[in-house]
């Protein structure tokens, strides 16, 4: 029950983070001075 609740709770966070990662890997560099090390695979 708790595991399912956590899955529902965290799934949107994970989706948003993966979306940001897919945008962040594009050439347009956001406006950040700091660029995190790119993921090994996207």
């Amino acid at each position: 029950m708790l595991a399912r609740f956590k899955k529902l709770l965290f799934a949107p966070v994970v989706m948003v983070a993966l979306f940001v990662a897919s945008v962040g890997i594009q050439p347009a560099s956001f406006f950040l001075l700091y660029q995190p090390e790119e993921p090994r695979k996207v």
Binding site: K7, P27, F30, K41
Partner: protein, 217 residues
């Protein structure tokens, strides 16, 4: 505890909770690092700007600077904490200078300065944009695409700043000018060398990792 470590730990925890395939965990870490880093930077910037009563000029500087930088690239710090310090310093200083010194410049002088800033940025874009960014290799067609987009960005910028100046918002137009000059300077070899020196200097005390990307220009 670094931002990288926090994002890595959080990505493993979240991946376990939602049964994410292992090969996507590092992408999750990358996304979380961008989100957390941006949130910290954004919140700190607005809180400090609010405390200094320069929120609107800082917002204008942020819009101008971030828009231009997204297209034109530029020099980078190699550790988040040094990037944070530098970004906050640039935008807060821009907002503060614009608010404090705008009254010294007449509207006509400001328009002249806007044209000078436009020409400087135009030359910097023609010569150096898009500036190399770590991990973002551009092929020839993409390179040209971002150069053209960076050039096109400057025209609406000039129009918007002249409009602000003509409406009596000199401090906002000055904030936009200073932000563009800072980002334009960040494209030049001198800008890269300055960030490199800053990075090396502060790497002894703040954050890990050493510069540089100056050799890429």
């Amino acid at each position: 505890m670094t931002l990288r470590q926090t994002a890595t730990d959080l990505s493993f925890y979240l991946a376990r909770q939602v049964d994410l395939p292992e090969k996507q965990v590092d992408s999750l870490r990358f996304g979380l690092e961008i989100i957390i880093g941006s949130l910290i930077k954004g919140i700190l910037l607005f809180v400090l700007a609010w405390a200094l009563d320069i929120v609107i000029p800082v917002v204008v500087a942020l819009l101008v600077g971030s828009g231009f930088r997204s297209l034109a690239g530029g020099a980078h710090s190699t550790a988040y904490i040094r990037c944070l310090v530098l970004s906050l310093a640039i935008y807060l200083l821009t907002g503060w200078m614009a608010t404090t010194y705008a009254f010294l410049i007449s509207p006509d002088q400001l328009v002249n300065l806007l044209f000078i800033g436009f020409l400087f940025s135009l030359l910097a874009v023609l010569r150096w944009a898009p500036g190399p960014v770590p991990g973002k290799e551009l092929n020839s067609s993409r390179h040209n695409q971002f150069k053209v987009l960076s050039l096109l960005y400057l025209f609406p910028w000039l129009g918007a700043m002249i409009y602000l100046a003509s409406q009596g918002h000199s401090s906002l137009a000055l904030a936009g000018l200073l932000a563009l000059l800072a980002q334009g300077f960040g494209l030049t070899p001198m800008g890269y060398r300055l960030i490199e020196r800053y990075d090396l200097l502060l790497s002894r005390n703040i954050g890990k990792g050493v510069a540089t990307n100056v050799s890429q220009i």
